[in-house]
């Protein structure tokens, strides 16, 4: 055992170095120009990124070999508090960049507290959840967890950095791991589906989905799934065609809100299930019913949320994503150009520095949020899949390593890191390919920027250090 004692996890470090290197050369490609062709040219972004990388590596070494890992657990409350204060302070003291107040400017260096907040929140979450006697089922504990996540999230929303705030939703996966009911995840996904369907198709369609779902669950509970489906599916199709049928044969019904009929049918179905099976699996049914009514409430409030709560630019980004409007020169420009750049890469890509979309600035923000375009264009399907693969490996490695921690703090912290990486990875790459609305968050370790690189380095290496020391506890 002795030789494994204090060992650094090499795969994680290799992933880290690969991503940082890929990022650096693609930033070079994205802002490449003939006049400044040296990759070390400090007047250019790739030169600067080189400095960020070197300093990030120094930081990593310090975390691994200098700082005593015990401080994280002990200092996490003051760090968390301090960062929250910084988050508030930046609203008043920060400089405005692209309409958000989330940047501090200290001399030549800009710095975004929201980036650091990911680390502090993760540490503090690990701290409170690793306390003796902590139980997620306990109301007090659940509340403290919710507050830990929601406070920085709310402040960041106030900084008008909604994208960064969205990352905190990723902690739901940690909570799931630590005992949160799987139904929460299911309903989370369901509500996204219902939101999208209501917006892109109609509320009737969303209700029909709910109808089929209720029928299917009933079927599963009674162990007569087939018999249920035989009735439910034709009924769903009939419901779907009701407006068209009415328009054709009963013109006097034109304009009638058929979703109410569907709603009535669905509700009857759900309630019938409750009455019949009450007592058998009552606990689940209670949650199901609650989720069902929440879903219905969601469907009918989609329009309100969309029109009144979302900002106009968020609205247009979603509309573009769902194909409700097409505005290739306006809100849809970024994504359209980004898809062109990625799509034009083909299988093998155009080769390093040969990307035309990349070189001539067709995609805005290409070295930061849209760095994945450069990879897609110049390295093609092969390169893109490689990068996606590295991230998938990194995140699953984080999950596996977390699971082997004996210490709860290290395990929870590891999951937090995995969640942060996952949210950034999925949202960013999904956005460049038009799967997710445009949300301006960087691709971890790849995008240009010191703030982001440093914080992800810190986030990751604290865990590597914790993993390295796992036998000491």
């Amino acid at each position: 055992m002795g030789n494994r004692f204090g060992k650094i996890d090499i795969p994680l470090v290799v992933c880290y170095l690969m991503l940082v290197f890929i990022g650096w050369i693609n930033i070079y490609a994205a802002v490449y120009s003939q006049e400044h062709s040296s990759i070390f040219d400090m007047s250019q972004r790739y030169g600067m990124q080189f400095i960020w990388i070197i300093t990030a590596l120094i930081l990593a070494v310090a975390i691994l070999f200098v700082i005593n890992p015990k401080v994280y657990s002990v200092l996490s409350p003051p760090i968390y508090l301090g960062v929250c204060l910084l988050l508030v302070a930046v609203i008043f003291l920060g400089k405005e960049v692209n309409g958000s107040n989330s940047w501090f400017q200290i001399g030549p260096v800009s710095f975004q507290p929201a980036e650091v907040s990911k680390i502090s929140t993760s540490l503090f979450l690990a701290y409170i959840m690793s306390k003796y006697n902590f139980r997620l089922g306990n109301m007090r504990d659940a509340l403290s967890v919710a507050l830990t996540i929601l406070v920085p999230m709310a402040i960041i929303v106030m900084e008008k950095e909604t994208g960064s705030a969205l990352v905190y939703c990723g902690f739901i996966f940690l909570l799931y791991r630590e005992g949160l009911s799987g139904w929460v995840l299911v309903f989370g996904i369901l509500s996204i589906v219902l939101f999208v369907v209501t917006l892109a198709v109609s509320s009737l369609a969303a209700i029909i989905i709910l109808f089929v779902l209720a029928g299917t669950i009933n079927g599963i509970y009674t162990r007569k799934l087939m018999q249920h489906l035989v009735v439910i599916v034709p009924a769903a199709i009939l419901l779907g065609f009701l407006p068209a049928i009415a328009e054709k044969w009963i013109p006097s019904l034109a304009g009638f809100k058929f979703e109410y009929i569907a709603l009535g049918t669905t509700t009857a179905l759900a309630l019938a299930a409750t009455v019949i099976y009450k007592g058998k699996r009552g606990r689940h049914l209670k949650y199901l019913l609650a989720g069902f009514f929440c879903s219905i409430a969601l469907i009918f409030s989609v329009e309100f949320i969309f029109n009144n709560i979302l900002q106009p630019h968020q609205r247009s980004r979603i509309e573009n994503l769902l194909g409700i409007t097409e505005d290739l020169m306006g809100a849809g420009y970024n994504v359209h150009q980004s898809k062109i750049a990625i799509g034009s890469g083909g299988f093998a890509g155009k080769g390093f520095l040969n990307g035309t979309q990349t070189k001539f600035d067709f995609v805005p923000e290409q070295s930061t949020d849209f760095i994945f375009c450069t990879i897609g264009e110049e390295w093609g399907f092969m390169g893109s899949v490689l990068v996606v693969g590295i991230y998938l490996f990194l995140i699953s490695r984080l999950i596996i390593l977390s699971e082997r921690q004996k210490d709860r703090f290290a395990r929870i912290y590891g999951y937090c890191v995995a969640c942060c990486f996952f949210m950034h990875f999925f949202i960013n790459i999904g956005m460049t390919m038009g799967l997710v609305p445009v949300i301006g968050i960087p691709l971890p370790l790849l995008s240009y920027g010191g703030s982001s690189l440093w914080s992800f380095t810190t986030l990751l290496f604290i865990f590597i250090k914790l993993d390295m020391e796992r036998w000491r506890y």
């Binding site: 750049a341 799509g343 264009e377 999904g430 390919m433």
Partner: protein, 611 residues
């Protein structure tokens, strides 16, 4: 299931979705690749130099010259001295004002593009502009090639080159807007040879449409491939000479080398002014409105009554059918009388045998002959006899397109039994009904090319090669059809008596009645036949076909001059001058040549104004 596994499976599912979308964008869909190319690459067409057209002796008939287009990049233009600018190019300040008004209107669409401001400015204007160019930022000159014509002859023959129009583009997707294409004449029929291959340079542009650089330093550029030259069968000097002779006359001259079918000269008068050909678009209205229709190529399109030269064909068919022999004699008392009608003839000794009838161009002889052909007891009906006659006539090339390589060639007209059934009723017509066919009048129409081909057939004593305009040369073979002898349905043995008549028509002693004495040139042994075709619009048309020398003929010619009167007076001398020019290089009859060149016969042509 362990929650860890659920999470990892979920993660992999998300990864799969991302990879699927990557696959969709990068492998399945083409639209993004195309858009990317349009985004960043700018293909600049490099136009090839069009192939030359050479004459049979290697002289340049159609060459290329440099002209210049003045380009403007509106966004780069600063204030400039409009009057100075206009004085260089001889244009009105209003023109400049109008142009810039337009540019301002479309400035968004134009962006950084360059547009053509003036087309085909002269070399002098170009050099002045180059000197003063610094005063006019945003303007530049690019060189273009356009056609030039060293011989100043053959406009209708060569045809013109013009920018493609949208209609043409619809039918020919290989062409792009801005390309040039041969629109008539040789330029059209040999477009594929002459056009060459376009090339391109690939330039890269950025998001602001500014040109950044040449892509890969031009490694993927494609150089334009110049068009191939064609060697035409035309003799440049003969063509030029023929046009001089035909000036101020309406009609056509066609000269063929009988032993090959090569067209030596093809003149349609009046033709397009060769000085206007290279920039025909500027003059198009003027040319189209010309009452003499210079665009109409009479040599291959106009169906004229052939007149007396057609007697040769009828005589040959008579011999072949056995209804006459060379010794058959017919009386002529100032014409052919049938019933109470008469087809008149001029005064000449009578009766005549075949040879004499040709020499003196007796009308009656051929009325008898055609009647004998059509009333031949061999055939059960006149329709059958007529169809047989018609088939024989067609074997000389009449009544159909000969199949030359000239694009606008037409087939003339040749009546069928239907034609007469319609006029007279089925089986209600006799030989007399169609008697004017005997002397090449009535329902028959032949192009001058048909007539020249007849002359060549006679020169060859019974066969012809399809007349064509492009010579075979190493590396560019001509179509096999041009190398085939086409025999007529008349045996070759019958031709020498007819040729004898043609020889006498030109070379018989004065006073013996030869109709084409005017065409006589000592030592050339020209054989010819005059014709005087009735023209319902004014004076008769003068016709003459001939070949020379009598043995091993080198040239066969048809001359057709509208409203010029008797064939011997105008057509024969002009044709003989052509023969002399071609065989001897110069004329022994300068006075005649001068008279022919100066004569204005155009004045007799009635003008039908269009619309």
């Amino acid at each position: 299931m362990e929650r860890k596994s659920v999470l990892i499976i979920g993660l992999l599912a998300v990864g799969l979705i991302l990879v699927a979308q990557l696959f969709n964008l990068q492998i399945l869909k083409d639209e993004y690749k195309i858009t990317a190319e349009n985004n960043a690459y700018k293909y600049v067409t490099r136009y090839p130099v069009r192939g030359l057209i050479l004459d049979r002796n290697g002289n340049i008939l159609v060459g290329n010259k440099n002209t210049y287009d003045i380009m403007v990049t509106p966004i780069e233009v600063k204030e400039f001295d409009t009057l100075d600018f206009c004085s260089i190019f001889n244009i009105e300040p209003e023109f400049v004002k109008e142009k810039f008004k337009e540019y301002r209107k479309y400035r968004r669409r134009i962006g950084y593009q360059s547009l053509t401001f003036l087309k085909q400015v002269s070399n002098i204007q170009y050099s002045i502009f180059m000197e003063k160019g610094w005063k006019f930022p945003g303007f530049s000159a690019v060189s273009r090639t356009s056609r030039n014509y060293p011989f100043a002859a053959g406009a209708n023959l060569f045809g013109y080159v013009t920018e493609v129009d949208p209609n043409f583009l619809k039918k020919n997707p290989d062409y792009k807007s801005g390309d040039y294409v041969g629109a008539s004449g040789l330029e059209k029929s040999y477009e594929n040879v002459l056009k060459g291959e376009k090339g391109y340079s690939i330039l890269l542009r950025d998001v602001h449409n500014r040109i950044q650089s040449s892509f890969e330093d031009g490694a993927y550029d494609k150089a334009a491939v110049a068009g191939s030259d064609i060697i035409s069968t035309i003799d440049g000097y003969l063509q030029q000479y023929g046009e001089e002779l035909m000036q101020n006359k309406v009609g056509s001259l066609v000269a063929i080398e009988p032993s090959t079918g090569e067209i030596l000269a093809l003149i349609s008068s009046p033709g397009i002014n060769i000085d206007q050909l290279a920039s025909i678009n500027k003059h198009y209205k003027e040319i189209v409105n010309d009452p003499y229709k210079p665009m109409f190529n009479r040599a291959v399109m106009s169906a004229y009554p052939p007149g007396s030269v057609f007697k040769l064909v009828n005589g040959l068919i008579g011999l072949q059918e056995g209804v006459i022999t060379p010794e058959t004699r017919y009386n002529c008392s100032m014409g052919y009388h049938y019933g109470d009608r008469k087809l008149g003839c001029h005064a000449h000794p009578s009766p005549t045998n075949l040879t004499q009838s040709i020499m003196m161009s007796c009308n009656a002889y051929y009325c008898y002959t055609l009647r004998a052909i059509l009333e031949n007891r061999k055939y059960s009906s006149i329709s059958e006899a007529f169809n047989n006659w018609r088939e024989m006539v067609m074997s000389f090339g009449f009544g159909r397109k000969l199949g030359s390589d000239f694009p606008a060639e037409l087939g003339g007209t040749l009546p069928t039994t239907n034609t007469y059934d319609k006029i007279y009723g089925k089986n209600r017509w006799r030989a007399h009904s169609v008697i004017s066919l005997s002397i090449g009048q009535g329902e028959i129409g032949a192009t001058p090319l048909h007539l020249a081909n007849l002359a060549a057939t006679l020169a060859n004593r019974g066969y012809y090669y399809i007349p064509h305009l492009v010579k075979e040369s190493p590396g560019s073979p001509i179509d096999a059809r041009f190398k085939e002898r086409n025999y007529t349905l008349v045996d070759t043995t019958h031709f020498h008596k007819v040729v004898e008549g043609m020889y006498l028509a030109v070379n018989a002693a004065p006073g013996t009645g030869g109709t084409a004495r005017q065409a006589h040139v000592e030592g050339l042994d020209i054989c010819g036949k005059t014709g005087t075709a009735q023209n319902p619009h004014g004076k008769d048309n003068a016709v003459f076909i001939c070949f020379a020398p009598r043995e091993n003929p080198k040239i066969a010619i048809a001359a057709y001059i509208e409203n010029a009167g008797f064939g011997g007076t105008w057509a024969a001398p002009i044709a003989s001058l052509m023969v002399e020019k071609y065989l001897n290089g110069e004329t022994s009859r300068p006075d005649l040549e001068k008279r022919m060149k100066e004569a204005n016969l155009q004045q007799y042509v009635p003008i039908k104004r269009r619309r």
